[in-house]
């Protein structure tokens, strides 16, 4: 449950009655990409997390070293921001460059980008869900944290056993055991096949070699799409059993642990910046962005309290605010403003990425003041700076697409309350319809469930893209790239969905060189610290106040419910998590000292 803490973080450990609060931290958090630490205070009497702080231990400085470089290098450089979804950055950068250079790729080029990006979603969600998150739900983990739940799982028949072949919920959990579980290994294998699909389109995973502003260098032949399609159909067959299996597993948690919906629950504040351009409509002109944004095959949108506030990419763009809050940077207020008005004449805020300056100020970590390298992106709705989260990507994407009710390509169809995914016949399984319904909560289980469904959604979209690409090639349109010139002055912005959520790139060109470049990936949104107004970031907010269901007492406590919540957001920062107890009580032989208290 959401609860904003008023108490300063760095206060002394509370003694006596308040001594029920035990400090616990996990740094580094493993099984994510990057470095994240989570620091908490837990009340073991009420079984609740009282406070939570999220910190990142790495600074690299992209916005700084990109200054003065050739703008055409930006997708090569920004791809290196992320080692699991770098291609999303490369794609987003090409979108921003297309806008700045006034170029649109040939339709075929755009279908190829969509196919590459679809493969990335299929790969990345798959490996993350089954090989990283799945371990939190595997036999070994459940036995160590909730032996009672394990016993119940052994007795519980899996409702969809007829489809996926695992008789009980315990059998599903066993199949998720690291390395020895058969589903764990099958998923690893699928993660490679989908990366082959990716490499067919974008050359090299994860930093593509064939993406350029103006299109792609990929040589489009019939064979290229045959190679992709055959692999895609095998993946679709895999999804037909994977989705019902995960439904069984996740539903079981609600059943076995009444109240589990409270875990990771937060106010529904979701952002999605849209994904997969439709080349029939997208001309990359800012002036037309509201229209072509709504034609994307994943609809952009901001969702507040369950309802859609906007689907307009121009609104989304103008609402972005970067607050410093508790991070290690100096404020840029009063600095040079690069863009005062957007191409439509709307005023652009000083705290908008187009006008941001990045001024690092390395300093000691202090939970009373500044404690992370992550800034706080927020979305201004005209009244408040909302701490939107991405829920790890899929939940926001499906929610926005369902509610906007704009997408209908047969293979996927929005209905207003749900998204239908229609998968054709495969080798061993008949035609299958899957339906993701807008859930009641934005919580840990629903974030994880949406991930499974979105894998199927991406695969279904890919079918549409292959058909369109093949039509182009069959009609003799094999051009994949449009020439362009770099202007002396220009601005651009790109919006897409990185695998784990919203991604924007903002570019300003002066004298033919990069004057300002600010990428905003999902993790700053999710992992942000308390901002300048004291509003905690989404991880902090979701963990803070959540109940604890783990059966272990403090000295063997693993924090599994907290780990599940943090991982449900699909954190992706070079970050991690340690574990220690406050009040001088040591859990492990070696432990990090009480980081939330100033050392005496």
């Amino acid at each position: 449950m959401t609860r904003v803490s008023e108490a300063p973080v760095g206060g002394k450990a509370k003694k006596g009655g308040a001594g029920d609060l035990v400090e616990m931290a996990w740094d580094p958090i493993t099984r994510i990409v990057g470095s994240l630490g989570i620091y908490t205070k837990i009340n073991f009497k009420t079984k609740e997390v009282a406070e939570c702080y999220s910190t990142s231990s790495i600074f690299r400085g992209y916005s700084i070293f990109m200054k003065g470089k050739d703008p055409r290098d930006s997708h090569f450089i920004t791809s290196r921001i992320c080692g699991i979804c770098g291609d999303n950055h490369a794609t987003c950068s090409c979108y921003a460059q297309n806008m700045a250079y006034g170029v649109a790729p040939p339709h075929l080029g755009e279908w190829i980008v969509n196919l590459g990006e679809a493969a990335e979603y299929m790969f990345d969600h798959n490996i993350y869900q089954e090989n990283l998150v799945g371990v939190d739900f595997c036999e070994k983990m459940v036995r160590e944290t909730n032996p009672g739940v394990w016993e119940q799982a052994k007795r519980t028949e899996a409702p969809n056993a007829g489809i996926h072949g695992y008789r009980t919920i315990a059998d599903i959990m066993t199949s998720l055991n690291p390395f020895t579980g058969d589903f764990y290994r099958e998923a690893l294998h699928q993660s490679r096949v989908t990366r082959e699909m990716f490499c067919l389109m974008e050359g090299r995973h994860v930093h593509p070699s064939t993406l350029y502003p103006g299109g792609v260098g990929t040589v489009a032949t019939i064979q290229l799409f045959t190679d992709y399609l055959t692999r895609l159909m095998r993946y679709i067959e895999f999804m037909k059993t994977t989705v019902p299996m995960h439904d069984d597993l996740f539903d079981f948690f609600y059943e076995a642990l009444p109240g589990y919906e409270q875990v990771g629950l937060r106010r529904i504040l979701l952002g999605c910046w849209g994904s997969f351009q439709d080349p029939q409509h997208c001309d990359f002109k800012y002036e037309n962005m509201s229209d072509w944004g709504r034609k994307m095959f994943v609809t952009p949108g901001v969702i507040v309290d369950g309802e859609l506030v906007t689907t307009d990419l121009v609104d989304i763009n103008l609402g972005i605010r970067i607050l410093l809050g508790s991070s290690y940077y100096e404020d840029w207020a009063g600095g040079e403003k690069f863009v005062t008005r957007d191409p439509l004449g709307n005023p652009v805020d000083e705290r908008h990425p187009w006008n941001q300056h990045t001024i690092p100020k390395p300093q000691k970590r202090d939970f009373d003041a500044n404690y992370t390298w992550v800034m706080s992106p927020r979305w201004f709705d005209g009244k408040d700076n909302l701490a939107l989260d991405t829920g790890g990507g899929p939940i926001a994407r499906l929610w926005a697409t369902a509610r906007a009710n704009l997408v209908d390509i047969g293979y996927v169809k929005a209905t207003g309350d749900s998204v239908e995914i229609n998968l054709p016949k495969t080798m061993n399984l008949p035609e299958t319809k899957l339906e993701w319904k807008v859930p009641q909560w934005s919580n840990t289980i629903e974030r994880d469930r949406a991930r499974t469904y979105f894998q199927a959604y991406a695969a279904a979209c890919a079918l549409h893209f292959v058909e369109n690409a093949l039509n182009e090639v069959r009609s003799g349109n094999t051009k994949t790239w449009t020439p362009f010139e770099v202007p002396d002055e220009g601005i651009g912005c790109g919006f897409t969905e990185a695998v784990r959520g919203v991604l924007s790139h903002h570019l300003v060109i002066k004298d033919g060189k990069i004057a300002n470049y600010h990428p905003y990936p999902p993790t700053p949104w999710n992992a942000s610290p308390r901002d300048s107004y004291g509003t905690p970031g989404p991880y902090e907010d979701a963990v803070q106040g959540q109940p604890i269901f783990e059966e272990n007492p403090p000295d063997t406590f693993k924090g599994i419910d907290i780990m599940r919540t943090v991982r449900s957001f699909d954190p992706c920062l070079p970050c991690g998590v340690h574990m220690y107890l406050g009040n001088g009580k040591v859990v492990q032989k070696r432990h990090a000292p009480s980081m939330l208290n100033s050392p005496e």
Binding site: R72, C199, R204, S209, G217, E330, G559, M595
Partner: protein, 355 residues
């Protein structure tokens, strides 16, 4: 708890119920990196990580990975292995470093990159301190990816952190206590199989069945980086005929639109990217020289033709000669890092620190 996610699952257990392990692999991903080399390793097929972890190859020692990307353990339980190694209680271990090493000496406080906390101060422990602590105790140090090997993207001109590669940090002539130089597997990211195969080689060397790993002057495994991209590129026929494209998306030679293949040491066009699929120039992507010590600075702007390649020449003879000259001339400079990647208290990258 005994087994990690990536532990060998063979049944031998010692008197404490811990699995018997011949070699530990300690992986620090907290350099300045994108974790792309960790991710790449999960894509390897020759061999796969399962094959290494489950001992599916003959003569392989029993190995336990302590690898943040997929580790079962979290937080202190995970960090414990690094502390054990620091105390000399973990023998033997291979240290894998991912990411470039920022220069922590150019500022008065705080950290650029850290891994775990110092029990004395409660502050994060810098990645460079971990290197100082663990490198002398390691059987071998493996730098994975171009950031860790030579600095890479984060060590670009104008960077604020003074980042450098592991050999810049430890010294190019550094040797482990077993006499093994730093082993560099560059690539941005590293080719999946190049990394898994090098790990395999080191494990065999640790088991005493393979001789000293053969490395070139930039510390790269010789059998992987002995040839140029150009020598392995299936577009060389077009190059031969002087048939160069000026547009992306063509099957012809890419040298005039930014391919640096002729002077770059990398086996990707030959090996493909995953399971033989994908690559760079072979599938239509210019070679941006991501394996090279001079990457990225000496190859930017990437989309311009490399110097020398603008020499007109429809006939391959003329062009071939130009290429050879370009090679001899440029080989040396592109195989060297820019000068600012080194230790010291001054930031030499061109960035003016505000702190």
């Amino acid at each position: 708890m005994a087994a990690d996610s990536a532990t060998t699952e063979r049944e031998d257990v010692d008197e404490h119920g811990q699995p018997e392990v011949d070699v530990h692999v300690l992986w620090i991903n907290a350099g300045l990196s994108c974790d792309g080399d960790s991710v790449a390793l999960t894509a390897a097929t020759q061999p796969t990580i399962e094959e290494i972890a489950l001992g599916a190859l003959p003569g392989l020692p029993r190995v336990q990975f302590h690898w943040p990307l997929i580790d079962y353990q979290v937080g202190d339980e995970f960090m414990d292995w690094f502390w054990k190694a620091d105390r000399g209680e973990l023998e033997p271990f291979v240290l894998v470093v991912e990411g470039s090493i920022p220069n922590e000496a150019i500022k008065s406080e705080g950290y650029w990159a850290a891994f775990g906390n110092d029990p004395e101060t409660g502050q994060p422990i810098t990645t460079s301190e971990w290197l100082d602590r663990l490198a002398p105790k390691a059987l071998a140090v493996l730098a994975a990816g171009t950031c860790a090997t030579y600095g890479g993207i984060h060590a670009m001109q104008g960077n604020p952190t003074g980042a450098m590669g592991v050999p810049d940090f430890l010294g190019w002539n550094w040797r482990s206590k077993a006499g093994i130089p730093i082993v560099c597997v560059p690539g941005c990211p590293t080719h999946p199989d190049n990394l898994s195969e090098t790990i395999l080689y080191l494990l065999y060397q640790a088991a005493g069945v393979a001789p000293m790993i053969p490395l070139d002057e930039s510390l790269r495994p010789l059998w992987l980086f002995g040839q140029t991209v150009h020598e392995g590129c299936d577009r060389a026929g077009y190059y031969e005929q002087g048939d160069f494209t000026t547009e992306y998306g063509s099957p012809k030679c890419l040298v005039k639109i930014g391919c640096w293949g002729p002077v770059v040491k990398c086996n990707v066009p030959k090996r493909g990217w995953i399971n033989g699929i994908g690559g760079c120039p072979n599938v239509g992507g210019i070679c941006i020289a991501c394996t090279m010590p001079g990457f990225p600075d000496k190859f930017m702007p990437f989309m311009d033709a490399p110097p020398g390649s603008t020499v007109s020449g429809a006939a391959s003879v003329t062009y071939g000669k130009a290429i050879r000259e370009l090679r001899n001339f440029t080989f040396k400079t592109v195989d060297e890092e820019p000068k600012w990647r080194k230790r010291g208290t001054k930031l030499l990258t061109g960035y003016k620190p505000p702190w």
